[in-house]
């Protein structure tokens, strides 16, 4: 996308604001909106024209810009600027939404809608620009982890199918038998590439076929080259436009934007992602017949046989240390340390309670569930050892088994025998760096959390059998259907469709950091969860709504979303069984 385009969006926004009669409206929101916009505009002007560095860069000879380093500087600048534009733009988008809710006459409403549409478009463009420039500036890091290709492709195809609404598209996937299951590479980047290309295909095909084929292209000693072919029967791309399709900021036709939306950065991002991994991409297309994108990416072979087996049998679980969602109780009396701990734990997506009072902390334990306790051993009043002992003596199974990590600056306090006697599982010495803390928490929380998941799964499957606690309840809705099992069938089908759409939409909102979008989708899905009495899913959605409103950090939200996806198959299973039962009884 060119600066020109950005400016045209901005001036549209400005025109909308100028012709809007703020004085007449005289509402607080309107003034706040204008103020935000003004500061946004001056901020932007400063960024682009004001500071000397930028000016020299804009006026610099093309030769200078050609060197890689300067290019990097430029893209870094774009990344920074895009990031900073987003904050005030968020303000604008938010206030326009508020403005919409006030009493407006028809003309004002039209103008506000124009502002809203223009700022929404601008937001999309900035998000794309941010992603692209982060990539181009080389800030993006590529992982090298073992993963299961079949699972990844399956997941991507699943997500793309959720994007197909109101269209007749047949999406098929074919992985050649020679392609190894287990590979080493960056799975999330690969799914981003595939999602982008398949997503594009979905956008440009009204009715027809989309096919993804994966072939083994070549094999070297420890490298595997895979070829991915995405073909569609869409509108196609004219020959003379094909060359520039991967160029930054260009869509095939200038009016593509009007018809299909998007910033035109999608394919540039795909190309960057592939280039950076020493791969290559090519496209062939015939207008009116369809397009074919072909890319080749190298992966490393999995050396260790055991890893191959693990990757083959388990889903591509990333072994990165994520403690998002862990509920942690912190005993700490120093206010500064409290703040530090709170900030760190929050950035990792943990839920925290911090207290300097032993008695209060023990009360908290009775009323809330926790996965871990971080205990400063030198506490006023009750010492850490005493608190730990009280925790271990608790009559509640969930409480007395919570792992405790002792925290202290004093090495002597870390007396092993004393710690063991008090029931402290692990120890971290102050001062510690963030990573050390993260690792310690992950070591102690992980086995517990995964055990809990396992446990809850077996418990749930037992529950389904014994009908003890139900994942869903079809009886009330069956009554509303007045015994019409055909209608019930249809409702169950629509319920599943609603959930699939929800999963797809939230994924996309999470990828574009759009908490508001997640909130809206979550809000929408709740009513049908209530109708089916899908209590476990409903609980997750309630937590998601809360997280959307209170927590700006999307890590925890992503954790909840993953929990939803994990839980859903069990609910679907229970749903099918119950439906079957009702039909048999009928």
């Amino acid at each position: 996308m060119e600066t020109r385009e950005l400016l045209s969006h901005l001036s549209k926004l400005e025109n909308g604001l100028n012709s809007f009669s703020f004085n007449e409206l005289n509402s607080d929101e309107a003034h706040e909106l204008k103020r935000t916009f003004d500061s946004f505009k001056t901020g932007l002007e400063d960024k682009v024209f004001g500071t000397p560095i930028v000016q020299t860069m804009l006026k610099a000879e093309p030769k200078v810009l050609e060197t890689r380093q300067d290019n990097n500087e430029e893209t870094t600048l774009i990344a920074n600027v895009s990031h900073e534009i987003r904050t005030p733009l968020n303000g604008i988008v938010g206030f326009v939404e508020l403005l919409k809710e006030t009493k407006l006459d028809a003309e004002q409403k039209e103008l506000v809608n124009a502002i809203s549409a223009a700022s929404g478009n601008l937001m999309d463009i900035i998000n794309g620009l941010l992603e692209f420039s982060t990539l181009a500036a080389g800030r993006e890091k590529f992982e090298r982890v073992p993963f299961n290709l079949n699972n990844l492709v399956g997941e991507v195809a699943f997500l793309c199918r959720t994007l197909i609404t109101n269209k007749q598209i047949d999406l098929t996937v074919d992985i050649d038998g020679q392609v190894p299951f287990a590979l080493v590479g960056d799975p999330s980047k690969l799914s981003q590439i595939l999602l982008n290309l398949l997503g594009n295909a979905v956008k440009f095909v009204e009715k027809g076929k989309i096919h993804l084929k994966v072939n083994l292209k070549a094999e070297q000693e420890n490298r595997t080259y895979l070829e991915f072919i995405i073909s569609d029967t869409g509108i196609g791309i004219a020959n003379d436009k094909l060359k520039q399709i991967f160029e930054s900021y260009k869509q095939a036709e200038p009016d593509t934007y009007l018809k299909y939306g998007g910033s035109g950065l999608g394919l540039s991002i795909v190309k960057e992602l592939i280039d950076k991994q020493q791969g290559c991409i090519a496209v062939t297309s015939t207008l009116g017949i369809g397009s074919k994108f072909k890319f080749i990416l190298p992966f490393d072979k999995v050396e260790d046989e055991t890893v191959v087996n693990i990757v083959k049998t388990t889903k591509s679980e990333k072994e990165s240390t994520s403690i998002a969602g862990a509920r942690i109780l912190v005993f700490e009396d120093n206010v500064l340390n409290q703040k530090l701990m709170e900030n760190r734990l929050k950035t990792w997506g943990c839920k925290t309670h911090i207290t300097d009072n032993g008695i209060y902390g023990l009360k908290l334990l009775e009323n809330h569930e926790f996965d871990l306790i971080l205990m400063d051993l030198r506490m006023p009043g009750m010492t850490g050892f005493e608190i730990a002992q009280r925790v271990r003596e608790s009559n509640h199974k969930q409480i007395c088994q919570i792992p405790i990590i002792g925290v202290s600056a004093d090495f002597d306090v870390a007396d092993e025998s004393k710690s063991k006697a008090a029931g402290i599982n692990d120890f971290i010495l102050k001062p510690f760096d963030a990573d050390e803390l993260l690792q310690k928490i992950a070591q102690n929380v992980k086995p517990m959390v995964s055990e809990k998941v396992k446990k809850s799964k077996t418990v749930i499957s037992q529950k389904v059998v014994t009908n003890d606690v139900k994942l869903i309840n079809l009886i009330p809705i069956m009554e509303e259907c007045m015994g019409q099992t055909e209608l019930l069938d249809e409702l169950v089908r629509l319920f599943k469709q609603n959930i699939l759409e929800f999963i797809g939409k939230v994924k996309i909102h999470l990828q574009s950091n759009n908490a508001q979008g997640v909130d809206f989708a979550t809000h929408k899905i709740k009513s049908c969860l209530k109708m089916m009495e899908a209590t476990t899913l409903l609980e997750i959605c309630d937590a998601m709504s809360k997280a959307c409103k209170t927590n700006k950090d999307l890590k925890y939200l992503t954790f909840l979303y993953e929990e939803f996806i994990q839980e859903y198959p069990m609910v679907e299973d229970a749903l099918d069984k119950e439906l079957m039962k009702i039909k048999l009884e009928d």
Partner: protein, 126 residues
């Protein structure tokens, strides 16, 4: 008595299907639309006897509908809003705008039928 026509605007297909079935079963004629734009088009073609409308819909919200009907078309036909955001503020603003009734999701079809009946009686039989 002539069959009463209802416009049902709801973008959750599952709930919409259930409500339509129950309304038709009770002898109403139902036009079902899934977003605000289609709803507006439906209204332009033919004015129903009553409207049941979700508050949060794409393109044209339930609140905007109330405003449009009451202020632009100067129509007083019964409007029943349904929404999952059932906080007090929402309900009050819906009534202030001129909605006749408000139901929180998940909507019980049986209760909706009773409320539709009441509204139609009030508006057409008095």
């Amino acid at each position: 008595m002539k069959t009463k026509e209802l416009l049902l605007a709801e973008d959750d297909l599952m709930l919409a299907t259930l409500l339509r079935y129950r309304l038709e079963k009770s002898g109403y004629q139902v036009v079902l639309v899934h977003d605000g734009r289609a709803m507006k088009e439906g209204l332009e073609q033919k004015m129903p006897h009553a409207i049941i409308c979700d508050v949060m819909m794409p393109y044209f919200s339930g609140i905007e509908l109330v405003d449009y009907l009451r202020n632009e078309l100067s129509s007083n036909i019964p409007i029943i809003l349904i929404s999952s955001a059932s906080n007090e503020e929402n309900i009050i603003s819906a009534f202030n705008m001129g909605a006749n009734d408000f139901m929180a999701k998940p909507v019980s079809p049986t209760e909706l039928l009773a409320r539709v009946g009441k509204e139609l009686n009030r508006y057409y039989c008095t």
